[in-house]
């Protein structure tokens, strides 16, 4: 742990330097409605802590959580299916890749029309953005399993399901963690985009409302909160990963 902190020290110093530059620059420009200083943003965050933390953060977290859960369930099922059936792979893989070329931000307003201002239009944006990396990465993980290991288990009399459980799942686990670590920030972005385009609550929605009031610090405050939450989630995932995946990087 100590070592890790020391490793992060240059990055922290660099970040601090950037923030100071920003602070000085913004003070010189002196137009808080377009370029607030970091201190003003923090002050705003504190002022607005009531609505931000009790209404809008939970709303965004619900979208992200549900979206991620759907993406993970769908991604895992599809990856396992493609691994088991070459026909399914041939059918689905190109479509999944093609789905990624859809400019989600551009069609998200349509989702609002279709699904209304409620939570589901946002969840859909989230799923569309995160579903792809999870499916493809987990699929690659399942493929990475050594055929020799599977064959060895077959000679022990294992069934296909047992091989899947004993060889493929452990091989795919590190890939799964990479996928989710990628997907968490993306899902937060997805939720924010969805809320920005049309919602009744959520950090994206709040940020947009502040925009209409030309409150620069108010635009930034929920964004800072979003990034902090995403970083925290990734850090937690990293900790879970080190506990569960002890063999990462081994060539065998």
């Amino acid at each position: 742990m100590k070592k890790a902190n020391r490793g992060n020290l240059p990055a922290l110093l660099f970040l601090l330097g950037l923030l100071m530059l920003w602070q000085l620059g913004a003070m010189k420009v002196n137009a808080a409605y377009i370029l607030p200083t970091p201190v003003q943003i923090l002050q705003k965050l504190w002022q607005l802590r009531g609505p931000l933390f009790t209404v809008h953060l939970p709303a965004t977290m619900a979208v992200t959580g549900i979206g991620l859960a759907i993406s993970i369930a769908l991604g895992l099922a599809l990856a396992a299916g493609m691994d088991a059936s070459p026909l399914l792979r041939k059918t689905v893989y190109p479509v999944v890749v093609a789905s990624q070329t859809i400019p989600t931000t551009a069609i998200a307003p349509l989702f609002v029309l279709w699904f209304g201002y409620g939570i589901w239009s946002k969840v859909l944006v989230c799923v569309l953005i995160t579903f792809f990396p999870i499916t493809i990465t987990v699929y690659d993980g399942l493929r990475s399993a050594k055929t020799e290991m599977a064959e060895l288990l077959f000679t022990y009399g294992a069934t296909r399901w047992e091989v899947f459980r004993l060889v493929k799942v452990p091989c795919a686990l590190p890939y799964f963690f990479s996928a989710v670590k990628m997907a968490v920030p993306m899902s937060v972005i997805g939720a924010a985009i969805g809320e920005w385009l049309g919602a009744q609550s959520g950090l994206g929605y709040f940020s947009r409302r502040m925009m209409t009031q030309l409150d620069g610090a108010g635009v930034f405050a929920p964004i800072v909160l979003l990034s902090a939450v995403a970083m925290l989630a990734v850090a937690l995932l990293g900790a879970a990963e080190t506990r569960l995946v002890k063999w990462r990087g081994e060539t065998e």
Binding site: K146, E148, M149, E151, L152, L153, F154, T155, Y156, G157, A158, E162, L166, V167, P170, L173, V245, K246, W247, E250, E252
Partner: protein
Amino acid sequence: MLRFEHVSYRYPSEDFDIIDDLSFSVEPGSFHCIVGVSGCGKSTIFRLTNGLLQPKAGEITVGGTPIGQLKQYCGYMPQRDLLFPWRTVGQNLALPLELRGGLSRAQVREQVEAALSDVGLAGCGDKRPEELSGGMRQRAAFARTLLTGSDLLLLDEPFSALDFLTRIAMQEWLLAQWQRHKKTILFITHDVEEAVFLSDRVLVVESTPIHTLTPVEVPAAYPRSRECLARPELAELKEQLIAILRKQVTP
């Protein structure tokens, strides 16, 4: 114990039978080495025996029964130890027992512990495979093969990745294990000296496609030590085998 009767096999990507009408048999409790140049098809014989490949023609029986009707009739140990890195050494050894089923957790642990101390790895059950040296890993893999409970062991060049000194120590160790457990061992190698030292009969692959395995008796009694390799009849046998194999190698 193991019998091939007019077995043929062709890889889908090839236009000839790599195993062509091959018949041979191996009696219970014997130690046979199959020697041949790399790529001659000796591993294919193993993959047919353990059921990973299906013969195009002919029949393979173990103990008189066609292998199609048998389960867990052979313990297969591939060239690389293939210990699963996400399992501890003990959990690796438990794999064949778990797959067979019908044992309680305590029984599995007991058998694993016994097998570990049997191969000189007592107390290593909770270690991760990467913490073991090459020789220890091969011994763990051998213990795992023993735990399949099969009387027929197929060992595919298990020592080829080890350094020379570890390899000769492992050869002596394997002979001791064989004499203690009274298993039937088929051992693939391209190392003639290894074959002569280990087996009571060497089966030579003289050409590819494989029509026959030429049996060559090794005139030495067990227990053996490495000194016996210096005896003139064994040295001569070694040279003779090398001469047969060299004919097939085009540099």
